[in-house]
């Protein structure tokens, strides 16, 4: 069913500008991806709001669901900077979000979703000079949902909604900073009540399919190569 119109879940030309894999490999990874990059969020949108909207595309009876949400943070201030990753358990759920949610409003802003290669350590932080997203460096308009004026023009608005902004003050860096969200059911876990010395549990970092990507922290942004 794609002869007459273009399906909305076709890969767009969004990409992680720092992914170190070639286009073929990227396409292959995207065709199985369970992760969405979600952009144009308000700085004040909470994970619970995101959960509420994105859970409408889950297939729990197929073993799906929302695995985790990773809020994009300003590298310096540790405050949300307008993007996040939503990771599902299945690829079909990510595609459904592209078809049904991308382009609708979340917290009264039109958001956009793209398939992502998968979260890697460090990608929860903005890549702009000021710590936020690159697109907010150069933005010249006034956007109350994204801290008012662009980063270089403002600092004052940041005091707004202290509670929201302090939420992630404890955000960590490095391995294990971001929770896995829980993996598939396993026989061993159910009975392993006394194995206290287990390593940090879930196994999701070992998931195949994401091992090929590499991201490095510096000055670029998810949005830089978007349309």
């Amino acid at each position: 069913m794609a002869h007459v119109v273009t399906p909305l879940d076709q890969p767009s030309n969004y990409k992680d500008s720092q992914a170190r894999v070639d286009r073929t490999k990227q396409n292959e990874l995207l065709s199985k991806s369970t992760t969405l990059y979600v952009g144009n969020l308000s700085f004040y949108t909470t994970e619970e709001q995101i959960y509420e909207v994105f859970s409408k595309c889950t297939n729990p009876e197929e073993g799906g669901g929302i695995k985790r949400i990773i809020m994009g943070l300003d590298r310096n201030t540790r405050t949300p900077c307008g993007f996040c990753f939503v990771e599902y358990y299945t690829h079909a759920e990510a595609l459904a979000s592209l078809r049904y949610i991308s382009g609708t409003k979340v917290d009264e802003r039109i958001i956009r979703c793209d398939l992502d290669l998968g979260y890697r350590e460090g990608r929860q932080f903005g890549r702009g000079k000021s710590g936020g997203q690159v697109r907010d460096e150069h933005r010249a308009d006034y956007d109350p949902g994204r801290g008012g004026w662009g980063a270089q023009a403002q600092r004052l608005e940041i005091e707004r909604r202290r509670e929201v902004e302090e939420r992630y003050a404890d955000a960590q860096e490095g391995p294990g900073a971001v929770a896995g969200g829980g993996g598939d059911w396993r026989e061993s876990e159910a009975t392993a009540e006394n194995t206290l010395k287990r390593a940090r549990s879930p196994e999701d970092e070992g998931d195949s399919g994401r091992t090929g990507t590499r991201a490095r922290l510096d000055d670029a942004d998810h949005d830089a190569n978007r349309i």
């Binding site: 073993g63 949400i69 009540e193």
Partner: protein
């Protein structure tokens, strides 16, 4: 044009050397021709027919398969154009007027006939795959071709009969029967005028077969009607139309007039063409192949078939408006419009924006005067009995699809955001249509709108409002605040507001409500913004100090084993000082779980981090490892954990559901625990609730648990299948290389490896056995819960017998909270039975033996209704 996704719209400075999609793509002549066929009628279908026909003829060399494929795509993906495709193909049956270089040999078939022959091959392929929608749309095409004289009417009738033959098969599923019946019914609506004139053919036979089938599923219908009548065993006729019954009614009207109305229902652009001077095409006879069920042979330990076969149900489309605003689907033209719109919504699910555009262009493909002209369009005389309102009709159809029971075809969110797109395209007309629909649905809440539909209604309402600034005129519902707090209208208001708050935030939603609804006493808004409630926060509260000590350890990221040790000693200390009636184990579990949730209360991620860090602690708590008690310590411990979660998040039911989900995911608790807790403890937060009743919040928790249990079985099944395939592939490869190297004795080594089970496969099979056992336990616990609430003990809730009577229902204006709550409980039981029927059917005997047999000796109206519902849902004799 929308399908041209290679040009336009992209920024010029876009650069990506690796992006292969950017390269210019040149269409081959065949592709160009195909596009022309697909695009037929974008401006004016009638005007374009000759031009496209000419373009097809001029193609050199002629590629019949490419042309036929263009037709196939056009017909199955743009069904609204089918009459014009029929006209186009009819034109191609005429000899070419312009002399071509090669004169066709005399007597050779016309181009049109060659295309039709090729097209038929495609139809046969759809038949082999049982691609029902494609089959039905191809039949539309054939039916129009029959009226156009291209296809032999007798053979068309035989084709339709091969579809009604399905209805007489033994044990055909309802889904199969319904789809086959619709193929025959719709084909007859379109081809009726010529079939009727064919000698020795009785069109009424088709109608009679469909009618007999439809009557045979009447009891099933009562379980999926949008408006609930608990007291009635017969399907009701108001507020909704079942699709097969609509088709039958429309066909009867057509029959009564010898199909004179067909021309008034479907465009027939070929009607004025001269008769074909060749023999019409004889459709070959077909047999609708049986359903193929891929059996993987996986059974539960007790030998039950664990494969889920989604059984389809009679499809009731809700009716909200009067016949002069939206067409009556039990009339030929009303049926044609509704089914045309349903097809559009279904086909264009891949792109809701294009779908919205096409829905609004729909009148172009219907006969003139069907819909009211758009504002500013040239005036034309309204057609009596037509002149419907497009946006309202579209809205009613989409809502009908959203409210199909037990579940929608696509995810409900698709339809919600499709409506959003319609409103964006046509704010002035689609917006009011949404408003009118909301009012009609809201009114139906008082008349028994099914609870699952009410739930989806609130869900849609909140999503829709969140896309349009939460602008709803709440004040018109102020008078309803005097209804019982559990009246469906008030439950709806609470629920809609709760969902809006989740999508936005408390103060934002408070602002849009009228003053009368802002006060907590109004029972619309919660008293305060949703948030955590750490029971031990207040220094005046008991166990404050104990909780602080646990909290400090957690905040300091103490190791799990150290926390466990601390809790053990805390338990000992508390035991020494506690009063006799205090369950110290429960207290310690509550302190620990709430403290853990407290450090994770900032966000979903914080919560995940907290529990992941302390999984050993949680496991230890859940396994009764720290605390040994009497009875079933594990179960008690898990119930305590769930109760502690509820106590902590009672002002945010969303979080309760999220935390329960992850506790199941991390295997701290099992789905069956959550279900047990839901029946024994799960109440409405902040609002009191009668005992032994079940509400929407409990349903969400129950559904979460059942879906988790079922999803795990699904994953395990896929894993087994993948491992088996891998093993088979390896075996085949080994065999291949064996035979390559040792050609000498190929026959000496037959199938050595497939029998062997790899360790991974053994583990996967074991997991599958465990998980199906858990699945069965979860379903059984649910059934038990409902038996207890509704049927087992007449004293548990005396109202269960009362609210199901006709007399009580008609006196519902006087119902109090407990009556409405009990009615709702019945509705949720019904929904459980129909929604999980594919799973229940697999275990029907075990489940009935465990839960229903204790009802055996009793007979009273509640027991009877309970069993009857069960029997319908599990496909047994009623």
């Amino acid at each position: 044009m929308s399908y041209n996704h290679h040009g336009g719209g992209r920024r010029k400075h876009y650069r990506d050397d690796h992006d292969d999609r950017r390269r210019e793509i040149y269409d081959t002549p065949e592709q160009r021709l195909r596009k022309s066929i697909i695009n037929l009628g974008e401006v004016d279908p009638v005007q374009e027919l000759e031009r496209v026909a000419k373009q097809i003829r001029q193609q050199v060399p002629v590629s019949v398969p490419a042309i036929a494929e263009g037709f196939r795509i056009g017909v199955t993906e743009q069904p609204f154009k089918i009459p014009y495709y029929a006209a186009l193909l009819r034109l191609l049956h005429d000899p070419s007027e312009e002399p071509t270089e090669e004169e066709p040999a005399p007597g050779s078939p016309s181009l049109g006939k060659q295309i039709l022959e090729d097209y038929w091959k495609g139809f046969q392929a759809f038949l082999d795959k049982l691609a029902w929608r494609e089959l039905r749309l191809c039949i539309h095409f054939f039916a129009h071709l029959t009226v156009a004289g291209v296809i032999n009417a007798q053979s068309m009738f035989e084709l339709l009969r091969s579809f009604t033959a399905v209805l007489e098969e033994f044990g055909a599923s309802h889904g199969r029967a319904m789809k086959a019946a619709l193929c025959a019914a719709e084909g007859l609506m379109m081809a009726g005028p010529v079939i009727k004139q064919t000698p020795d053919v009785d069109a009424s036979e088709i109608v009679a077969t469909i009618k007999a089938y439809s009557d045979s599923v009447n009891s099933t219908k009562t379980l999926v009607q949008p408006v609930v009548k608990l007291f009635s065993g017969e399907p009701a006729l108001e507020h909704a139309d079942e699709i097969l019954d609509s088709a039958i009614a429309a066909l009867r009207i057509l029959e009564a007039s010898d199909f004179a109305q067909t021309a008034d229902t479907f465009p027939q652009p070929y009607a004025d063409f001269p008769p074909l001077d060749a023999e019409p095409f004889e459709l070959p006879s077909v047999l609708v192949p049986p359903e193929v069920i891929e059996l993987d042979g996986l059974m539960t330990e007790d030998g039950e078939d664990a494969q889920v076969k989604k059984e389809e149900w009679p499809a009731y489309y809700i009716r909200l408006f009067d016949n002069d605003i939206t067409p009556d689907p039990t009339t030929p033209v009303g049926y044609a419009i509704r089914s045309g719109l349903i097809d559009l919504v279904d086909i264009f699910e891949v792109n809701r924006k294009e779908c919205a555009r096409l829905l609004l262009e729909f009148p172009k493909w219907m006969l003139p005067g069907t819909f009211k002209p758009r504002e500013g369009a040239p005036y034309h005389e309204p057609v009596p009995g037509k002149n419907w309102d497009l946006e309202t009709t579209v809205m009613e159809t989409i809502l009908g699809t959203i409210f199909l029971l037990p579940e929608t075809i696509h995810k409900p969110i698709y339809y919600y955001t499709l409506i959003t797109e319609l409103c964006k395209l046509m704010p002035k007309t689609a917006g009011p249509a949404v408003g009118k629909s909301i009012r009609k649905l809201y009114a139906l809440l008082a008349d028994g709108l099914d609870v699952e539909i009410a739930q989806r209604f609130a869900d849609w309402f909140s999503i829709h409002m969140s896309n349009f600034n939460f602008g709803w005129v709440w004040k018109e519902w102020i008078p309803d605040l005097s209804l019982s707090p559990k009246h469906p209208k008030r439950v709806f208001m609470q629920h809609a507001v709760e969902l809006e708050i989740r999508l936005s935030y408390y103060d934002r939603i408070l602002r849009v409500l009228p003053e009368e609804m802002q006060a907590p006493e109004a029972g619309v808004m919660p008293e305060e913004a949703p948030g955590p409630d750490f029971e031990y926060d207040d220094p005046a509260k008991p166990y404050h100090d104990s909780a602080q000590s646990v909290l400090n350890l957690l905040r300091g990221r103490a190791k799990a084993e150290d926390v466990i040790e601390h809790i053990q000693s805390l338990k000992n200390t508390l035991s020494e000082s506690a009063d006799g009636d205090v369950n110290v184990d429960s207290v310690v579990r509550s302190i620990t779980v709430q403290s853990l949730l407290h450090i994770g209360s900032r966000s979903f991620s914080h919560f995940l981090n907290a529990i992941e860090r302390y999984l050993p602690l949680l496991r230890s708590l859940a396994g009764g490892g720290i605390i040994a008690g009497g009875g079933n310590p594990h179960l008690e411990a898990r119930m305590d954990i769930l109760s502690a979660v509820y106590a902590f998040w009672k002002r945010s039911r969303h979080m309760v559901a999220i935390v329960f989900d992850k506790l199941m995911q991390y295997q701290i608790v099992d789905p069956t625990d959550v279900i047990g807790w839901t029946f024994t403890n799960g109440g409405s937060s902040s609002r009191p609730k009668s005992p032994n009743t079940f509400d929407a919040f409990q349903w969400i928790l129950l559904k979460g648990a059942l879906d988790k249990a079922n999803g795990r079985v699904m994953i395990a099944r896929r894993k087994v299948a993948a491992l088996r395939k891998e093993a088979d592939d390896n075996a085949a490869r080994a065999k291949a290389s064996d035979s390559a190297t040792m050609e000498v004795d190929t026959e000496a080594k037959p199938d050595v490896i497939p029998a062997a089970e790899t360790p991974a496969l053994t583990t996967a099979l074991k997991a599958f056995a465990t998980l199906t056992r858990e699945q069965k336990a979860a379903l059984s616990r649910t059934l038990d819960g409902f038996v207890d609430y509704l049927a087992a003990n007449p004293d548990a809730n005396p109202k269960t017998r009362e609210v199901i009577t006709e007399k009580a229902w008609h006196a519902r204006a006087n119902w109090d909270e407990v009556e409405w709550e009990t009615w709702e409980t019945w509705c949720w039981y019904r929904h459980f039975a129909r929604a999980y029927s594919p799973y229940l059917r697999n275990y029907v005997n075990t489940l009935a033996a465990v839960s229903l047999d204790r009802l055996e000796t009793m007979s009273d109206p509640a027991v009877d209704l309970f069993k009857k519902t069960w029997n319908i849902a599990t496909g047994q004799e009623v």
